[in-house]
Amino acid sequence: MSFEDWYRQDRLPHIFCAGCGNGTIINCTLAAIEQMDWKKEDTVFVSGIGCSSRAPGYIVTDSLHTTHGRALAFATGVKMANPDLNVVVFTGDGDLAAIGGNHFIHACRRNIDITVVCMNNQIYGMTGGQGSPTTPKGCLSSTTPYGCAEIPFDLCELAIAAGANYVSRWTSYHVKELEKAVRAGFETPGFSFIEALVQCPTAFGRRNKFRQVSDQIEYMKSHALIRAKRDRMIEAGEHVPEDMIVVGELARRNRPAMGVKP
């Protein structure tokens, strides 16, 4: 068995643009599932609206492609009604943090036993590149033509503050680390949140000086700062540059959870 067996071959070709990072994240997630030895009939993927939310449509299990921002509320119903199911949510930065922000913090607070993989491309890709709640300050998008003036959300800090049991952040460059993080999320009872920064050459990269797909991946690689190193830098009183992406496991704890398989 390979993780490739989890794909719906009859749905190809997929809708993702050339150079999109989403496929990498789906591969990592399915590879982690393969290690968990989950059965297809016991696994449900739920998503909202956006590029990332198209992922469940390419996977052979039962899947619910829902309304914009509401994936976690639907997933809560699925998981609470049948805790025997493994429930995985694919979402994006706009879906999760803008229109779905309230559902996000309450799913974290309930610490419901689902795993959320957020493909953060820092932009609304499907609608053509509008600014999102994670678009970095100063970045260009079709609705921030003079540079984004707003402060972006730190999705992981949000999840930690709201009560999620497991939180980690990686990028589409860090495939092995990401796979391990998703697996750790599956293994941790309660709400698990894995943020994966992804390149979006079509809507983000071309407006923000990443002329090649590899330019943005290169940027994520060179700006990734392991959490432990960040902590050491802070301890030593060193300055942590603002544009660094803190990656690694950011929370793993054992708060009481809901909807855990009996």
């Binding site: 297809k40 619910l64 509401r70 509320a73 639907f74 809560t76 119903g77 699925v78 049948n82």
Partner: protein, 367 residues
């Protein structure tokens, strides 16, 4: 065996749901429907069911749809402001053919309006409130007994036709207390399961596909996008979209006579005929009781959508229909579409019922 109780309408609604096998309730507090949620919170855990208070009505509606796909009979209860928030996912339930029950204990609107006063202002919203064309089923109880019975029926209709079914109650019926005869068990119509190997959204002759419950190995993809019979998104094919939307409407409209056959007809030979649903039924019943010799006709609706238009033709001698409603004539307009005689709309806003005198003077004026 039955037992007699003295219950509030909202409690009867919750008990009707439990008797129908409802095992999932996702809701959010709102006057005047909150007693439904409170009663479910107390009772569901003891029956092995799930009660969850969601963060808003959008999430409540989403949660019951998610639960329904695992095979659970699921419901929520709300009132106007919450009903407006639910519209988004009500459309999703219609498009994905998800069985679920939504109770709306109507209060005065628009907006926050009159939280503790009765109204029937959401009758068009429950039919047309979400964007796009679709059809749904709406039931209107006019007694505590019917709060129980119609809630239970709503689950059977939802499972049979795979639509969201609305119990369109109002504050008066929801908060009224009266005698109720509680049956020991309610008949449950099971969801027709999908035959393994058939396409998940290919309809049978009744225009309804079998239900592929999550966790049973169907591997079904459910999407609110226009989808083909495999369930796969196919949003740019005009013919496919038209066929899908027409089927979603036709599966209800073509079954209209079966779904909406539960009306009551009194004095079909009368020239003056009342049509009512919900709380105004009680005033009409008082008028009929007080004026026995007046030969006044009455069409009492229990199912409002799909509208039982054939019931109107049963009044062969009718000269005027009178439609008392706690809104500005929402159903009167629907009735006008189907008849050639005058339809006298008797609207009442503010939260009080029509008095018998008000209805009687309407009869006198028209004579």
């Amino acid at each position: 065996m039955t037992r007699t109780e003295f219950w509030q309408g909202n409690i009867a609604c919750a008990e009707g749901a439990l008797a129908a096998g409802c095992r999932f309730f996702g809701g959010y507090p709102i006057t005047p429907s909150t007693e439904v949620a409170e009663h479910m919170a107390a009772k569901l855990p003891k029956k092995g069911g799930v009660f969850i208070q969601m963060e808003d009505e959008i999430a409540s509606m989403a949660s019951i749809i998610g639960a329904s796909w695992t095979g659970s009979r699921a419901m929520t209860a709300t009132s106007g402001p919450g009903f407006s928030l639910m519209m988004e996912n009500i459309g999703y339930a219609a498009m994905t053919e998800t069985p679920c029950v939504v109770v709306n204990v109507q209060r005065g609107g628009p907006s926050t309006g009159q939280p503790t006063m009765a109204a029937q202002g959401d009758m068009m919203q429950c039919r047309f409130g979400s964007h796009g064309d679709y059809s749904t089923i709406a039931l209107c109880p006019s007694s505590v007994q019917e709060m129980f019975e119609l809630t239970a029926r709503a689950f059977n209709l939802a499972d049979q036709y795979r639509v969201p079914v609305f119990l369109m109650a109002d504050e008066i019926i929801g908060h009224m207390r009266e005698k109720i005869i509680v049956p020991d068990a309610m008949e449950q119509v099971a969801r027709k399961p999908l035959v393994k190997g058939t396409l998940p959204f290919r309809p049978d002759n009744d225009l309804i596909p079998g239900f592929p419950q999550f966790g049973k190995g169907y591997g079904v993809h459910v999407t609110g996008l226009t989808h083909d019979e495999r369930g796969y998104p196919c949003a740019t094919n005009p013919n496919l979209h038209e066929a899908l939307v027409r089927r979603l409407v036709d599966k209800i409209e073509l079954a209209r006579d079966t779904i909406a056959s539960d009306f009551e007809i009194i004095n079909p030979g009368a020239e003056q005929v009342f049509i009512a649903y919900g709380a105004p039924v009680r005033t009409v019943q008082q008028v009929l009781h007080d004026r026995l010799n007046d030969n006044i006709g009455f069409l009492r609706l229990r199912t409002v959508w799909p509208f039982p238009e054939k019931a109107l033709a049963r009044f062969k001698n009718v000269k005027q229909f009178f439609v008392p409603e706690l809104n500005l004539g929402q159903m009167a307009r629907e009735i006008e579409r189907h008849v050639r005689v005058p339809v006298v709309s008797l609207p009442k806003l503010g939260g009080n019922l029509h008095t018998p005198e008000e209805l009687e003077s309407a009869l006198e004026e028209a004579r």
